[in-house]
Subunit: 241 residues, 2 copies
DNA sequence: CGTGACGTTGACTGTAGTCAAAGAAGGTGG
DNA sequence: CCACCTTCTTTGACTACAGTCAACGTCACG
């Protein structure tokens, strides 16, 4: 198991070689999960945290009618529920979007890291705060942007995350989500997602088809979506252009 | 300076007496801030974190037209920007709503705590994760609830937070926010906030006037707003009726 | 080749935004 | 102490963005 992707561009320089190997030793065996499967349900007590090696996962809350509101989409290199370590009980569900490969780190191991490696502990803390920063941007997206800009903003965020782990060339990337998934992310109906995707295509900004997204005009898309990647705390050089 | 409110009901039992006194020693002198003032601006580098002793504060993001989206409302006993410790640079603004009293903890002191008191470090980490849990609920509120339920849900959250620090008797509490502030919180216009407040009043659920909110029917309000305080991770006995 | 999930489109509806104006409240200075 | 000014609240009329409902198309898979 390797945490390379996680560390890529995320303050790796602040860690010693021993820190990195301590983290890698902490992770258990990599195991597969099927697509569209729940890993954790709201209210579950958790005793290990999940590191996503391959595939796409998401976290969501249900409303009374059982409709989902996605609160995060995870890509390889993300810790999907590291916050479960201090919280113990999760306030939301965790599920796969596609078939995945994950590694789980027992919380007992994290206790050892807290005792022995304050620098590494701070990096782990930092990574949960990145999630919080993304949550804030999702609040902004839902509270201040119209449907078109919400879609654009979501695409910008996921592209930036994918680029940081080498899964986007800056123009085209795989996004294995249905229009229904995107609707649950952006707080609009899937019918309206469809209309807005057409709109983005007709404006020559973004094209999406069969789980592949193509950016046709990134600067214009950033402008339309009021997207500024600062909140992702990626290194400046990664985000240049 | 005292961290009593912060520790109240928030896993105080997990800390030793030395932990508590270490935390209290770390805080600097209490100082006042005027109302409606910015403490931190997006992009600022921070070297201390702010503990709110008295008054109401908020955090927000601006859109291109300069309109605000609130992402958090803070009450006495909250660390408003503890996440600035690992993040270093803040991705949003921090401001007062009312005149406040704050204490600031230099990040150097937090480094010492990380080295010497893993248990306390974990509690601090936990408290930033509470913010993240509230962020998630705000995403849910904006993405899945209509205007009426958004208002109700916000009132429920703030009341639960205030009750945990003894500032609500479960029926009436001070909420020094204008309808404009509430609009910026709930992602609707202030005109519509006004209409929905009237609606809540006419349904005999909530009454708000001159910064004082009264719950007329809490169970019905919880139902309407799909509010479940689990995400606040308050002790069960505090939340019992 | 049939079936079910997903995508696409059109017509109609409704919730919330916009614009405008007037009323209340609170603070300041003459 | 009152007049004035600003900010906040309230209401009405009109608009528009997004939801709902329904039907049909497309694609992958068994």
């Amino acid at each position: 198991m390797t945490f390379e992707k996680f560390l890529l561009g995320r303050r790796r320089d602040q860690l010693s070689a021993e820190d990195i190997s301590a983290l890698e030793r902490a992770g258990g065996a990599v195991r597969p999960l099927p697509g569209r499967a729940n890993l954790i349900t709201q209210g579950d007590l958790v005793s290990a945290s999940t590191y996503l090696v391959e595939g796409f996962m998401c976290r969501y809350l249900d409303d009374r009618k059982g409709e989902r509101q996605l609160i995060a989409v995870h890509v390889p290199g993300d810790f999907v529920d590291l916050h479960g370590y201090p919280l113990k009980r999760l306030d939301h569900d965790v599920a796969t979007l596609t078939p995945c490969k994950i590694a789980q780190v027992p919380h007992g191991r994290l206790d050892e890291i807290m005792r022995e490696r304050p620098g590494l502990s701070k990096l782990l803390w930092f990574s949960t705060l990145l999630d919080a920063a993304m949550h804030r941007e999702w609040i902004f997206r839902l509270g201040r942007l119209d449907a078109l800009a919400r879609l654009g903003h979501f695409f910008c965020e996921i592209e930036a995350k994918l680029r940081a782990v080498g899964m986007s060339d800056g123009r085209t990337f795989a996004l294995p989500m249905t229009q229904i998934d995107i609707a649950e992310t952006c707080g609009i109906t899937s019918v309206h997602v469809n209309r807005m995707l057409r709109d983005l295509r007709e404006r020559s900004l973004v094209h999406m088809r069969a789980g592949v997204v193509t950016f046709l005009d990134r600067p214009a898309l950033y402008r339309l979506s009021e997207f500024d990647p600062g909140y992702l705390y990626l290194d400046a050089d990664i985000m240049e252009h």
